[in-house]
Symmetry: C2
Subunit: 307 residues, 2 copies
């Protein structure tokens, strides 16, 4: 089943201990789409500027990603500049230019309307909500956000959360959103805000899926997927979005959303996140094959399973 | 098979967000012994002062732990005071008094000499080495250490590492010891210093077992055990030692040390670490039953296994 994703399609300038690149194709919706495209059809809603040309378009086309909903506007695309020189787990932002995203009013192409899965990638919650409202009948809606929106745009974000089945955020964000340092208590608090499921990403330590239990159950269901200890983390940019793409892409590829399917989705998320870190920007995701994904899935199983 | 453990038997004063206790029985060898005692026979080598009385002795006796090797000396027992008010993952040390440990010269009781497993709990590496040299023929030797010894007593520690099959340390310590921020590379570097296996503890994110691969293998073997998201971390003191006790205790209880046994040992380590955090000091380990341990082992399996 197809996924519609709204989020940033952008250019990044990034410096890591392994090197630096300037104004390369990036953005949450880009990483998400590339990762999800190995599992199912993906349709993107975004806005780009005049700097988005055939070279960038070709990256999506090579993975059969539908770009009908990528609007072209006068000016420059969203731009982010950051580095990971002191800490590979946390980006230091040097510059963010919203550019064409500042006045974006997302429209859903008619050809996207039968999408059964909707992903609201990290972006202004006002835009996430507008897309959500235009697609009220999807089967599953998941979203991502970041510390900036939690800190300075909380009312708008809380409106978005009401419309989510599942939220993906990292540890710090979960604790910040809930105002609680205990992860399990924070997860429970977030799951009273709308989403009945929460994926908390732990960077190099993997991720945990929490599910709101029935009131009579005495414990919250959780499932923990590992991350793979990597020889070299070349560039962590987009690892979280790639996790989301693998996770949600696998869900959308399955006929039934059973607990076992969610568990496998967590593993596919970790698999895609691990690939994303191995090369600069989207390079590894562009070159990947399904056989490599399945091979790494097996490695993740060996990494965590007793027998 | 029996384990001999050398390490601190001490008194702690600890403050956590959940409360405070004064001069309660603690120490690495105490937590380790209590955790390991659910799996196999444990024999302790340590020194205590006149403040160690029948009440403390009874804690060991209740778990059938052999205290023949706990020497009584004039003066006070090792004392540590710390808090976890800002960060439950990292203790802030307020006071450390070596007391009777300052002049300790460990002796191995004859009745300990047939121990096939030796654990060198966190203590001055000079003492670890003296015990190791007196027990040259054990089947498996593992050890623990801490940032203090890595930073200020590295030559003595490196001598200890040469005599270890397995080292258990946390992330920060592994990176510090190897002088390398990449965990996989750090693990490989540590495994050139003596131990062919390394368990890196990640606090609330679990732990990873690394094993030195044959030169022809292109990747280092690893296995990741989770930690359980806990409703409340009452007191993290001793969680790492309890992990070590569960891990090594389970190994010592098995006839053969197969890869599958090491995997299960990692889970038992995580299980014992999770119990240790649930109450102040050694309280939870004192009250625990084997049935509770096996029940939690099942929860850990559900937490991580796909099917």
């Amino acid at each position: 089943m197809a996924i519609t994703v709204v989020g940033s399609v952008a250019f990044d300038t990034v410096e890591t201990p392994a090197g630096r690149y300037e104004r390369q194709l990036a953005g949450a919706a880009t990483y998400f789409s590339l990762a999800a495209s190995f599992f199912t059809d993906v349709r993107v809603i975004a806005v780009v500027g005049e700097d988005f040309g055939p070279e960038q378009e070709a990256v999506f086309k090579a993975r059969n990603i539908d770009t009908t909903g990528i609007e072209r506007a006068a000016g420059k695309s969203f731009f982010w500049e950051g580095s990971y020189l002191e800490n590979l787990n946390e980006a230091k932002t040097h510059n963010t230019e919203l550019n064409v995203f500042a006045t974006f009013n997302p429209q859903i192409p008619d050809s996207y309307r039968d999408s059964e899965f909707l992903f609201l990638a990290n972006i202004d919650p006002v835009l996430q909500r507008r897309v959500r409202e235009q697609m009220p009948d999807v089967k599953l809606v998941a979203g991502d956000t970041m510390n900036y929106w939690i800190k300075d745009h909380k009312p708008a974000l809380l409106e978005v959360l009401k419309g989510l089945d599942l939220l993906l955020i990292n540890d710090t964000e979960a604790r910040m959103l809930a105002g609680n340092d205990n992860l399990l208590q924070a997860a429970r608090a977030v799951m009273t805000m709308g989403p009945r499921m929460l994926v908390v990403k732990h960077g190099e330590y993997g991720a945990t899926l929490f599910e709101r239990a029935a009131p009579e159950a005495h414990r919250t269901e959780c499932f923990r997927a590992p991350a793979l200890p990597l020889e070299e983390v070349v560039d962590p940019t987009g690892a979280g979005d790639s996790f989301a793409g693998g996770f949600f892409g696998y869900l959308a590829s399955q006929a039934e959303l059973t607990p076992a399917v969610f568990r496998r989705a967590m593993f596919y998320g970790s698999v895609m996140g691990s690939f994303a870190c191995e090369r600069f920007g989207t390079e590894r995701l562009q070159q990947l094959t399904r056989a490599e994904i399945d091979e790494r899935f097996k490695i993740f199983r060996e990494l965590t399973h007793l027998d």
